[in-house]
Protein backbone atom coordinates (compact mmCIF):
# COMPACT_ATOMS: atom_id res chain seq x y z
CA UNK A 1 0.00 0.00 0.00
CA UNK A 2 1.38 3.36 -0.93
CA UNK A 3 1.92 5.82 1.88
CA UNK A 4 -0.76 8.51 1.76
CA UNK A 5 0.79 11.92 1.25
CA UNK A 6 -0.35 14.33 3.94
CA UNK A 7 -1.47 17.62 2.51
CA UNK A 8 -0.19 20.84 3.99
CA UNK A 9 -2.19 24.02 4.25
CA UNK A 10 -5.06 25.66 6.02
CA UNK A 11 -7.73 23.03 5.32
CA UNK A 12 -6.24 20.62 7.89
CA UNK A 13 -6.55 23.20 10.65
CA UNK A 14 -10.09 24.09 9.58
CA UNK A 15 -11.18 20.45 9.72
CA UNK A 16 -9.58 19.95 13.10
CA UNK A 17 -10.74 23.17 14.71
CA UNK A 18 -14.37 22.38 15.68
CA UNK A 19 -13.54 19.09 17.42
CA UNK A 20 -10.52 20.48 19.24
CA UNK A 21 -12.43 23.60 20.26
CA UNK A 22 -15.21 21.44 21.72
CA UNK A 23 -12.75 19.26 23.64
CA UNK A 24 -10.83 22.33 24.77
CA UNK A 25 -13.93 24.12 25.99
CA UNK A 26 -15.71 21.17 27.58
CA UNK A 27 -12.85 18.86 28.62
CA UNK A 28 -9.73 20.96 29.28
CA UNK A 29 -11.31 24.16 30.64
CA UNK A 30 -13.51 22.13 33.04
CA UNK A 31 -10.39 20.48 34.46
CA UNK A 32 -9.15 23.99 35.22
CA UNK A 33 -12.49 24.80 36.89
CA UNK A 34 -12.19 21.60 38.90
CA UNK A 35 -8.75 22.62 40.19
CA UNK A 36 -10.05 26.10 41.00
CA UNK A 37 -13.14 24.73 42.77
CA UNK A 38 -10.99 22.37 44.81
CA UNK A 39 -9.19 25.43 46.26
CA UNK A 40 -12.33 27.44 47.06
CA UNK A 41 -13.07 28.50 50.60
CA UNK A 42 -15.01 25.52 52.05
CA UNK A 43 -17.25 27.95 53.97
CA UNK A 44 -18.96 29.04 50.72
CA UNK A 45 -22.10 27.45 49.33
CA UNK A 46 -24.10 27.19 46.18
CA UNK A 47 -26.34 30.08 47.24
CA UNK A 48 -23.86 32.43 48.88
CA UNK A 49 -21.25 31.83 46.22
CA UNK A 50 -17.67 30.70 46.61
CA UNK A 51 -14.48 32.65 47.11
CA UNK A 52 -11.09 31.56 45.92
CA UNK A 53 -8.88 31.20 48.96
CA UNK A 54 -6.17 28.75 47.88
CA UNK A 55 -7.55 26.40 50.50
CA UNK A 56 -5.05 23.56 50.10
CA UNK A 57 -6.48 22.27 53.36
CA UNK A 58 -9.40 20.91 51.29
CA UNK A 59 -7.06 18.21 50.02
CA UNK A 60 -5.83 17.06 53.41
CA UNK A 61 -9.39 17.22 54.76
CA UNK A 62 -10.66 15.08 51.88
CA UNK A 63 -7.84 12.56 52.28
CA UNK A 64 -8.32 12.44 56.02
CA UNK A 65 -12.06 11.95 55.82
CA UNK A 66 -12.36 9.74 52.75
CA UNK A 67 -9.17 7.64 52.62
CA UNK A 68 -11.22 4.49 53.21
CA UNK A 69 -13.52 4.80 50.17
CA UNK A 70 -10.48 5.86 48.15
CA UNK A 71 -8.48 2.79 49.17
CA UNK A 72 -11.52 0.57 48.66
CA UNK A 73 -11.93 1.86 45.09
CA UNK A 74 -8.34 0.99 44.26
CA UNK A 75 -8.61 -2.46 45.87
CA UNK A 76 -12.00 -3.40 44.40
CA UNK A 77 -11.00 -2.01 41.01
CA UNK A 78 -7.72 -3.93 41.17
CA UNK A 79 -9.34 -7.26 42.08
CA UNK A 80 -12.01 -6.83 39.41
CA UNK A 81 -9.32 -6.01 36.83
CA UNK A 82 -7.35 -9.14 37.76
CA UNK A 83 -10.48 -11.31 37.43
CA UNK A 84 -11.30 -9.66 34.11
CA UNK A 85 -7.77 -10.41 32.91
CA UNK A 86 -8.18 -14.13 33.64
CA UNK A 87 -11.67 -14.43 32.13
CA UNK A 88 -10.89 -12.08 29.29
CA UNK A 89 -7.64 -13.80 28.34
CA UNK A 90 -9.34 -17.18 28.06
CA UNK A 91 -12.11 -15.72 25.93
CA UNK A 92 -9.83 -13.60 23.72
CA UNK A 93 -7.44 -16.54 23.25
CA UNK A 94 -10.30 -18.85 22.28
CA UNK A 95 -11.57 -16.31 19.74
CA UNK A 96 -8.18 -15.48 18.26
CA UNK A 97 -6.78 -19.03 18.00
CA UNK A 98 -9.60 -21.57 18.26
CA UNK A 99 -12.77 -20.05 16.86
CA UNK A 100 -11.93 -20.55 13.16
CA UNK A 101 -14.70 -19.24 10.98
CA UNK A 102 -16.82 -18.40 14.03
CA UNK A 103 -14.42 -15.60 14.95
CA UNK A 104 -16.66 -12.73 13.85
CA UNK A 105 -19.76 -14.27 15.39
CA UNK A 106 -17.99 -14.71 18.73
CA UNK A 107 -16.70 -11.13 18.63
CA UNK A 108 -20.23 -9.84 18.12
CA UNK A 109 -21.41 -12.05 20.99
CA UNK A 110 -18.75 -10.53 23.26
CA UNK A 111 -20.17 -7.04 22.80
CA UNK A 112 -23.84 -7.97 22.45
CA UNK A 113 -24.80 -8.28 26.14
CA UNK A 114 -23.35 -4.86 26.79
CA UNK A 115 -25.81 -3.14 24.49
CA UNK A 116 -28.38 -3.48 27.24
CA UNK A 117 -28.27 -0.61 29.67
CA UNK A 118 -25.49 -0.74 32.28
CA UNK A 119 -27.97 -0.12 35.09
CA UNK A 120 -30.41 -2.79 33.93
CA UNK A 121 -27.60 -5.35 33.65
CA UNK A 122 -26.46 -4.51 37.16
CA UNK A 123 -30.02 -4.77 38.46
CA UNK A 124 -30.29 -8.28 37.06
CA UNK A 125 -27.19 -9.27 39.03
CA UNK A 126 -29.08 -8.05 42.07
CA UNK A 127 -31.73 -10.62 41.23
CA UNK A 128 -29.23 -13.40 40.50
CA UNK A 129 -27.33 -12.83 43.75
CA UNK A 130 -30.50 -12.28 45.80
CA UNK A 131 -30.80 -13.79 49.27
CA UNK A 132 -33.26 -16.50 48.21
CA UNK A 133 -31.72 -16.95 44.76
CA UNK A 134 -30.14 -20.07 43.28
CA UNK A 135 -26.56 -19.00 43.87
CA UNK A 136 -26.93 -18.07 47.52
CA UNK A 137 -29.00 -21.21 48.19
CA UNK A 138 -26.42 -23.51 46.60
CA UNK A 139 -23.55 -21.81 48.42
CA UNK A 140 -25.47 -22.23 51.68
CA UNK A 141 -26.09 -25.89 50.83
CA UNK A 142 -22.36 -26.38 50.27
CA UNK A 143 -21.65 -24.54 53.52
CA UNK A 144 -19.54 -21.96 51.72
CA UNK A 145 -21.95 -19.43 53.15
CA UNK A 146 -23.56 -19.70 56.58
CA UNK A 147 -27.30 -20.38 56.74
CA UNK A 148 -27.96 -16.64 57.03
CA UNK A 149 -25.04 -15.71 54.79
CA UNK A 150 -25.65 -13.44 51.81
CA UNK A 151 -23.86 -12.06 48.80
CA UNK A 152 -25.69 -8.78 48.29
CA UNK A 153 -24.33 -5.95 50.39
CA UNK A 154 -20.92 -7.64 50.53
CA UNK A 155 -17.67 -6.81 48.71
CA UNK A 156 -18.11 -10.08 46.75
CA UNK A 157 -21.22 -8.80 44.98
CA UNK A 158 -19.64 -5.42 44.26
CA UNK A 159 -16.49 -6.97 42.79
CA UNK A 160 -18.56 -9.51 40.82
CA UNK A 161 -20.59 -6.66 39.34
CA UNK A 162 -17.50 -4.64 38.44
CA UNK A 163 -15.88 -7.69 36.85
CA UNK A 164 -18.94 -8.42 34.77
CA UNK A 165 -19.61 -4.87 33.62
CA UNK A 166 -16.10 -4.04 32.45
CA UNK A 167 -15.18 -7.41 30.86
CA UNK A 168 -15.50 -6.26 27.21
CA UNK A 169 -12.98 -3.45 27.85
CA UNK A 170 -10.52 -6.24 28.61
CA UNK A 171 -11.48 -8.74 25.91
CA UNK A 172 -11.34 -6.42 22.89
CA UNK A 173 -7.76 -5.06 23.31
CA UNK A 174 -6.53 -8.55 24.29
CA UNK A 175 -8.12 -10.01 21.18
CA UNK A 176 -6.61 -7.27 19.01
CA UNK A 177 -3.07 -8.07 20.12
CA UNK A 178 -3.50 -11.88 20.24
CA UNK A 179 -4.93 -11.86 16.73
CA UNK A 180 -1.81 -10.12 15.41
CA UNK A 181 0.58 -12.82 16.70
CA UNK A 182 2.28 -14.81 13.94
CA UNK A 183 1.24 -18.44 14.56
CA UNK A 184 4.55 -19.66 13.13
CA UNK A 185 6.35 -18.29 16.20
CA UNK A 186 4.25 -20.46 18.50
CA UNK A 187 4.70 -23.47 16.21
CA UNK A 188 8.46 -22.84 16.18
CA UNK A 189 8.59 -23.03 19.98
CA UNK A 190 6.82 -26.41 19.76
CA UNK A 191 9.21 -27.64 17.04
CA UNK A 192 12.09 -26.74 19.35
CA UNK A 193 10.57 -29.06 21.99
CA UNK A 194 9.23 -26.35 24.29
CA UNK A 195 6.38 -27.61 26.43
CA UNK A 196 3.13 -25.83 25.39
CA UNK A 197 3.06 -24.06 28.76
CA UNK A 198 6.62 -22.79 28.26
CA UNK A 199 5.74 -21.80 24.72
CA UNK A 200 2.82 -19.82 26.09
CA UNK A 201 4.82 -17.96 28.73
CA UNK A 202 7.85 -17.34 26.52
CA UNK A 203 6.11 -16.51 23.25
CA UNK A 204 2.37 -15.84 23.39
CA UNK A 205 2.18 -13.93 26.68
CA UNK A 206 5.04 -11.47 25.94
CA UNK A 207 3.65 -10.79 22.47
CA UNK A 208 0.21 -10.09 23.93
CA UNK A 209 1.54 -7.61 26.53
CA UNK A 210 0.39 -4.47 24.69
CA UNK A 211 -3.16 -5.87 24.83
CA UNK A 212 -2.77 -6.79 28.49
CA UNK A 213 -1.61 -3.28 29.37
CA UNK A 214 -4.31 -1.41 27.46
CA UNK A 215 -6.98 -3.89 28.59
CA UNK A 216 -6.08 -3.57 32.27
CA UNK A 217 -6.04 0.23 32.02
CA UNK A 218 -9.37 0.39 30.19
CA UNK A 219 -10.87 -1.89 32.87
CA UNK A 220 -9.24 -0.47 35.98
CA UNK A 221 -9.88 3.23 35.35
CA UNK A 222 -13.68 3.03 34.97
CA UNK A 223 -13.96 0.30 37.62
CA UNK A 224 -12.15 2.38 40.24
CA UNK A 225 -14.33 5.42 39.50
CA UNK A 226 -17.61 3.49 39.35
CA UNK A 227 -20.33 3.81 41.96
CA UNK A 228 -23.27 2.16 40.23
CA UNK A 229 -22.24 -1.37 41.26
CA UNK A 230 -21.71 -0.34 44.87
CA UNK A 231 -25.02 1.44 45.02
CA UNK A 232 -27.07 -1.39 43.50
CA UNK A 233 -25.21 -4.48 44.76
CA UNK A 234 -23.38 -3.29 47.84
CA UNK A 235 -24.16 -1.32 50.97
CA UNK A 236 -22.80 1.85 52.58
CA UNK A 237 -20.10 -0.37 54.11
CA UNK A 238 -18.59 -0.78 50.65
CA UNK A 239 -18.86 2.89 49.67
CA UNK A 240 -16.35 3.72 46.94
CA UNK A 241 -14.85 7.08 46.12
CA UNK A 242 -17.21 7.63 43.16
CA UNK A 243 -20.25 7.49 45.44
CA UNK A 244 -18.67 9.97 47.82
CA UNK A 245 -17.84 12.48 45.05
CA UNK A 246 -21.30 12.09 43.57
CA UNK A 247 -23.14 12.66 46.82
CA UNK A 248 -20.87 15.56 47.85
CA UNK A 249 -21.79 17.26 44.59
CA UNK A 250 -25.48 16.46 44.28
CA UNK A 251 -26.72 15.90 47.85
CA UNK A 252 -24.36 17.78 50.15
CA UNK A 253 -23.59 20.61 47.68
CA UNK A 254 -20.07 20.68 49.09
CA UNK A 255 -18.30 21.56 45.87
CA UNK A 256 -14.80 22.28 47.21
CA UNK A 257 -14.59 18.92 48.99
CA UNK A 258 -16.04 17.04 45.99
CA UNK A 259 -13.64 18.76 43.59
CA UNK A 260 -10.56 18.09 45.71
CA UNK A 261 -11.54 14.43 46.06
CA UNK A 262 -11.99 14.22 42.27
CA UNK A 263 -8.53 15.70 41.80
CA UNK A 264 -7.02 13.22 44.27
CA UNK A 265 -8.64 10.32 42.41
CA UNK A 266 -7.36 11.58 39.06
CA UNK A 267 -3.81 12.22 40.26
CA UNK A 268 -3.75 8.81 41.94
CA UNK A 269 -4.91 7.07 38.77
CA UNK A 270 -2.49 8.96 36.52
CA UNK A 271 0.40 8.15 38.87
CA UNK A 272 -0.51 4.46 38.97
CA UNK A 273 -0.88 4.33 35.19
CA UNK A 274 2.53 5.94 34.62
CA UNK A 275 4.31 3.57 37.02
CA UNK A 276 2.48 0.55 35.61
CA UNK A 277 3.18 1.40 31.98
CA UNK A 278 6.88 2.03 32.76
CA UNK A 279 7.20 -1.31 34.52
CA UNK A 280 5.42 -3.18 31.75
CA UNK A 281 7.83 -1.55 29.30
CA UNK A 282 5.15 -0.48 26.87
CA UNK A 283 5.55 3.29 27.03
CA UNK A 284 5.03 3.69 23.30
CA UNK A 285 1.37 2.79 23.88
CA UNK A 286 0.59 6.17 25.36
Amino acid sequence: MSETVRKRGRLGYLLLFPALAWLGLFFVVPLYSLVATSLFDPAGSDFRGYTMSWAWGNYSDALHEYWQPLLRSIVYGGIATALCLVLGYVLAYAIAFKAGRWKNVMLVLVIAPFFTSFLIRTLSWKLILADDGVIVNSLQFLHVLGSDGRLLATPVAVIAGLTYNFLPFMVLPLYASLDKIDHRLIEASGDLYAHPAIGFFKVTWPLSLPGVVSGTLLTFIPAAGDFINVQLLGSPNQRMVGSVIQSLFTDANNYPAAASLSMILMVLIVAMVVVYVRRAGTEDLL
Binding site: R6, L16, P30, S33, G225
Partner: protein
Protein backbone atom coordinates in the same frame (compact mmCIF):
# COMPACT_ATOMS: atom_id res chain seq x y z
CA UNK B 1 -9.73 -40.44 23.06
CA UNK B 2 -12.20 -38.05 24.70
CA UNK B 3 -9.34 -36.84 26.90
CA UNK B 4 -7.39 -35.68 23.88
CA UNK B 5 -10.45 -34.14 22.22
CA UNK B 6 -11.12 -32.18 25.38
CA UNK B 7 -7.50 -31.08 25.76
CA UNK B 8 -7.45 -29.69 22.25
CA UNK B 9 -10.67 -27.85 22.74
CA UNK B 10 -10.34 -26.97 26.40
CA UNK B 11 -9.62 -23.30 25.71
CA UNK B 12 -12.53 -23.06 23.30
CA UNK B 13 -14.88 -24.71 25.79
CA UNK B 14 -13.72 -22.38 28.57
CA UNK B 15 -14.07 -19.39 26.24
CA UNK B 16 -17.64 -20.39 25.40
CA UNK B 17 -18.37 -20.75 29.12
CA UNK B 18 -17.14 -17.19 29.71
CA UNK B 19 -19.33 -16.05 26.84
CA UNK B 20 -22.35 -17.85 28.32
CA UNK B 21 -21.67 -16.14 31.65
CA UNK B 22 -21.91 -12.74 29.96
CA UNK B 23 -25.39 -13.65 28.74
CA UNK B 24 -26.79 -14.72 32.12
CA UNK B 25 -28.02 -11.22 33.13
CA UNK B 26 -29.47 -10.69 29.64
CA UNK B 27 -31.51 -13.86 30.03
CA UNK B 28 -32.77 -12.49 33.34
CA UNK B 29 -33.71 -9.16 31.71
CA UNK B 30 -35.68 -10.91 28.96
CA UNK B 31 -37.35 -13.22 31.46
CA UNK B 32 -38.31 -10.39 33.79
CA UNK B 33 -39.86 -8.46 30.91
CA UNK B 34 -42.58 -11.17 30.97
CA UNK B 35 -42.98 -11.08 34.72
CA UNK B 36 -46.14 -10.20 36.61
CA UNK B 37 -44.72 -9.21 40.00
CA UNK B 38 -46.68 -10.11 43.13
CA UNK B 39 -45.45 -6.98 44.86
CA UNK B 40 -43.45 -3.96 43.79
CA UNK B 41 -40.87 -4.40 46.52
CA UNK B 42 -39.83 -7.96 45.78
CA UNK B 43 -37.78 -8.27 42.62
CA UNK B 44 -38.25 -11.89 41.52
CA UNK B 45 -40.10 -13.88 38.85
CA UNK B 46 -43.67 -14.60 39.91
CA UNK B 47 -45.94 -15.27 36.93
CA UNK B 48 -45.89 -15.02 33.15
CA UNK B 49 -47.61 -12.10 31.49
CA UNK B 50 -47.53 -10.09 28.26
CA UNK B 51 -48.81 -6.96 30.00
CA UNK B 52 -45.42 -5.26 30.24
CA UNK B 53 -44.96 -5.56 26.49
CA UNK B 54 -48.53 -4.49 25.67
CA UNK B 55 -48.50 -1.49 28.03
CA UNK B 56 -44.92 -0.28 28.19
CA UNK B 57 -45.92 3.23 29.30
CA UNK B 58 -47.83 2.35 32.47
CA UNK B 59 -45.47 4.75 34.19
CA UNK B 60 -45.51 7.71 31.77
CA UNK B 61 -42.39 9.18 33.35
CA UNK B 62 -40.42 6.16 32.12
CA UNK B 63 -41.46 6.72 28.51
CA UNK B 64 -40.71 10.44 28.85
CA UNK B 65 -37.24 9.54 30.06
CA UNK B 66 -36.73 7.11 27.15
CA UNK B 67 -37.87 9.78 24.68
CA UNK B 68 -35.50 12.34 26.20
CA UNK B 69 -32.61 9.86 26.03
CA UNK B 70 -33.36 9.13 22.37
CA UNK B 71 -33.50 12.87 21.56
CA UNK B 72 -30.23 13.59 23.34
CA UNK B 73 -28.66 10.47 21.82
CA UNK B 74 -29.61 11.44 18.27
CA UNK B 75 -28.49 15.07 18.60
CA UNK B 76 -25.23 14.13 20.32
CA UNK B 77 -24.58 11.48 17.66
CA UNK B 78 -25.11 13.88 14.76
CA UNK B 79 -22.87 16.61 16.16
CA UNK B 80 -20.15 14.28 17.46
CA UNK B 81 -20.09 12.28 14.21
CA UNK B 82 -19.72 15.37 12.03
CA UNK B 83 -17.05 17.05 14.17
CA UNK B 84 -15.22 13.78 14.78
CA UNK B 85 -15.21 12.76 11.11
CA UNK B 86 -13.78 16.13 10.05
CA UNK B 87 -11.05 15.79 12.66
CA UNK B 88 -10.28 12.21 11.58
CA UNK B 89 -9.79 13.39 7.97
CA UNK B 90 -7.44 16.13 9.20
CA UNK B 91 -5.44 13.64 11.26
CA UNK B 92 -4.98 11.10 8.48
CA UNK B 93 -4.88 13.27 5.36
CA UNK B 94 -3.41 16.59 6.47
CA UNK B 95 -0.19 17.84 7.90
CA UNK B 96 -0.30 20.27 10.81
CA UNK B 97 1.70 21.51 13.74
CA UNK B 98 1.03 19.91 17.12
CA UNK B 99 0.12 16.40 16.03
CA UNK B 100 1.13 14.63 19.23
CA UNK B 101 -0.62 17.18 21.47
CA UNK B 102 -3.75 16.71 19.35
CA UNK B 103 -3.55 12.94 19.67
CA UNK B 104 -3.19 13.26 23.43
CA UNK B 105 -6.18 15.60 23.66
CA UNK B 106 -8.27 13.08 21.75
CA UNK B 107 -7.04 10.13 23.81
CA UNK B 108 -7.50 11.64 27.28
CA UNK B 109 -11.33 11.81 27.45
CA UNK B 110 -11.46 8.07 26.69
CA UNK B 111 -9.09 7.31 29.57
CA UNK B 112 -10.26 9.80 32.20
CA UNK B 113 -12.59 8.44 34.90
CA UNK B 114 -16.17 9.47 34.15
CA UNK B 115 -16.69 10.80 37.64
CA UNK B 116 -13.80 13.24 37.14
CA UNK B 117 -15.06 14.40 33.74
CA UNK B 118 -18.58 14.79 35.07
CA UNK B 119 -17.53 16.71 38.15
CA UNK B 120 -15.19 19.01 36.25
CA UNK B 121 -17.93 19.90 33.76
CA UNK B 122 -20.26 20.62 36.65
CA UNK B 123 -17.56 22.81 38.21
CA UNK B 124 -17.36 24.75 34.93
CA UNK B 125 -21.13 25.16 34.60
CA UNK B 126 -21.38 26.35 38.19
CA UNK B 127 -18.45 28.75 37.77
CA UNK B 128 -20.04 30.13 34.61
CA UNK B 129 -23.29 30.75 36.50
CA UNK B 130 -25.29 28.01 34.79
CA UNK B 131 -26.07 26.00 37.93
CA UNK B 132 -29.73 26.98 37.58
CA UNK B 133 -29.92 25.97 33.92
CA UNK B 134 -28.60 22.41 34.19
CA UNK B 135 -30.68 20.14 31.99
CA UNK B 136 -31.15 19.09 28.38
CA UNK B 137 -28.48 21.38 26.91
CA UNK B 138 -25.80 20.72 29.50
CA UNK B 139 -26.36 16.97 29.11
CA UNK B 140 -26.09 17.36 25.34
CA UNK B 141 -22.81 19.32 25.61
CA UNK B 142 -21.35 16.63 27.88
CA UNK B 143 -22.46 13.77 25.62
CA UNK B 144 -21.00 15.36 22.50
CA UNK B 145 -17.74 15.82 24.43
CA UNK B 146 -17.32 12.19 25.45
CA UNK B 147 -18.58 10.74 22.14
CA UNK B 148 -16.18 12.86 20.05
CA UNK B 149 -12.99 10.96 20.83
CA UNK B 150 -14.61 7.61 20.07
CA UNK B 151 -15.79 8.93 16.68
CA UNK B 152 -12.33 10.27 15.80
CA UNK B 153 -10.66 6.98 16.72
CA UNK B 154 -13.17 4.83 14.82
CA UNK B 155 -13.19 6.90 11.62
CA UNK B 156 -9.42 7.38 11.76
CA UNK B 157 -8.92 3.60 11.88
CA UNK B 158 -11.08 3.17 8.78
CA UNK B 159 -9.32 5.98 6.90
CA UNK B 160 -5.82 4.85 7.86
CA UNK B 161 -6.50 1.31 6.70
CA UNK B 162 -7.80 2.54 3.34
CA UNK B 163 -5.83 2.17 0.13
CA UNK B 164 -5.75 5.45 -1.81
CA UNK B 165 -5.21 3.84 -5.24
CA UNK B 166 -8.93 4.12 -6.06
CA UNK B 167 -8.85 7.84 -5.38
CA UNK B 168 -5.73 8.22 -7.50
CA UNK B 169 -7.45 6.31 -10.30
CA UNK B 170 -10.42 8.70 -10.10
CA UNK B 171 -8.08 11.69 -10.33
CA UNK B 172 -6.26 10.10 -13.27
CA UNK B 173 -9.60 9.82 -15.00
CA UNK B 174 -10.08 13.59 -14.61
CA UNK B 175 -12.57 13.53 -11.75
CA UNK B 176 -12.60 16.85 -9.90
CA UNK B 177 -11.52 16.73 -6.24
CA UNK B 178 -15.17 17.12 -5.21
CA UNK B 179 -16.30 14.26 -7.47
CA UNK B 180 -13.46 12.08 -6.18
CA UNK B 181 -14.44 12.81 -2.62
CA UNK B 182 -18.18 12.20 -2.89
CA UNK B 183 -18.07 9.28 -5.34
CA UNK B 184 -15.00 7.40 -4.12
CA UNK B 185 -13.63 8.50 -0.75
CA UNK B 186 -16.87 9.07 1.14
CA UNK B 187 -18.54 5.75 0.21
CA UNK B 188 -15.37 3.93 1.23
CA UNK B 189 -15.20 5.66 4.62
CA UNK B 190 -18.94 5.48 5.22
CA UNK B 191 -18.99 2.13 7.11
CA UNK B 192 -16.52 3.65 9.58
CA UNK B 193 -18.69 6.73 10.01
CA UNK B 194 -21.80 4.61 10.50
CA UNK B 195 -20.02 2.46 13.08
CA UNK B 196 -18.88 5.59 14.91
CA UNK B 197 -22.43 6.97 14.90
CA UNK B 198 -23.86 3.73 16.34
CA UNK B 199 -21.18 3.68 19.02
CA UNK B 200 -21.92 7.33 19.90
CA UNK B 201 -25.62 6.69 20.21
CA UNK B 202 -25.17 3.73 22.51
CA UNK B 203 -22.61 5.59 24.65
CA UNK B 204 -24.94 8.56 24.96
CA UNK B 205 -28.09 6.53 25.56
CA UNK B 206 -26.44 4.50 28.32
CA UNK B 207 -24.45 7.18 30.15
CA UNK B 208 -25.28 7.68 33.78
CA UNK B 209 -22.33 9.02 35.78
CA UNK B 210 -21.59 12.18 33.75
CA UNK B 211 -25.26 12.80 32.97
CA UNK B 212 -26.38 12.52 36.56
CA UNK B 213 -23.98 15.25 37.67
CA UNK B 214 -24.97 17.68 34.92
CA UNK B 215 -28.69 17.00 34.53
CA UNK B 216 -30.27 19.23 37.13
CA UNK B 217 -33.86 18.04 37.36
CA UNK B 218 -33.99 16.57 33.83
CA UNK B 219 -34.34 12.77 33.81
CA UNK B 220 -32.82 10.49 31.18
CA UNK B 221 -33.60 6.77 30.98
CA UNK B 222 -30.56 5.59 32.99
CA UNK B 223 -31.41 8.21 35.62
CA UNK B 224 -34.98 6.93 35.72
CA UNK B 225 -33.68 3.39 36.32
CA UNK B 226 -31.37 4.70 39.04
CA UNK B 227 -34.31 6.41 40.72
CA UNK B 228 -36.67 3.43 40.66
CA UNK B 229 -33.88 1.04 41.73
CA UNK B 230 -34.24 2.52 45.23
CA UNK B 231 -38.02 2.17 45.44
CA UNK B 232 -39.04 -0.80 43.27
CA UNK B 233 -38.40 -1.37 39.59
CA UNK B 234 -41.39 -1.53 37.20
CA UNK B 235 -41.03 -4.58 34.94
CA UNK B 236 -41.38 -2.33 31.87
CA UNK B 237 -37.76 -1.32 32.43
CA UNK B 238 -36.85 -4.83 31.30
CA UNK B 239 -38.93 -4.38 28.16
CA UNK B 240 -36.74 -1.40 27.24
CA UNK B 241 -33.62 -3.41 28.14
CA UNK B 242 -34.73 -6.31 25.93
CA UNK B 243 -35.55 -3.94 23.07
CA UNK B 244 -32.15 -2.25 23.29
CA UNK B 245 -30.49 -5.66 23.09
CA UNK B 246 -32.66 -6.87 20.21
CA UNK B 247 -32.29 -3.69 18.15
CA UNK B 248 -28.50 -3.63 18.43
CA UNK B 249 -28.24 -7.32 17.54
CA UNK B 250 -30.47 -6.70 14.52
CA UNK B 251 -28.27 -3.78 13.38
CA UNK B 252 -25.05 -5.78 13.78
CA UNK B 253 -26.45 -8.86 12.00
CA UNK B 254 -27.92 -6.70 9.25
CA UNK B 255 -24.61 -5.01 8.50
CA UNK B 256 -22.78 -8.35 8.65
CA UNK B 257 -25.21 -9.87 6.11
CA UNK B 258 -24.87 -6.78 3.95
CA UNK B 259 -21.07 -7.12 4.02
CA UNK B 260 -21.26 -10.78 3.03
CA UNK B 261 -23.61 -10.04 0.15
CA UNK B 262 -21.33 -7.28 -1.07
CA UNK B 263 -18.17 -9.36 -0.88
CA UNK B 264 -19.97 -12.14 -2.74
CA UNK B 265 -21.07 -9.67 -5.42
CA UNK B 266 -17.47 -8.50 -5.79
CA UNK B 267 -16.04 -12.03 -5.96
Amino acid sequence: MTGRWLRERLVLVLGILVLLYTFVPIAVVVLMSFNAPASRNVYRFDAFTLDNWLNPCTDPSMCDAVRRSVEIGLLATVVATILGTLAAFALVRHDFVGRSATNLLIFLPMAAPEIVMGSSLLALFVAAGFSGQLGFWTILIAHIMFCLSFVVVTVRARLAGMDDTLEQAAMDLYATPAQTFWRVTFPLVFPGILGAALLSFSLSFDDFIITNLNAGTTTTFPMYVWGVAQRGVPMQVNVIGTLMFAISIAIVLGSELNNRRRSKALA
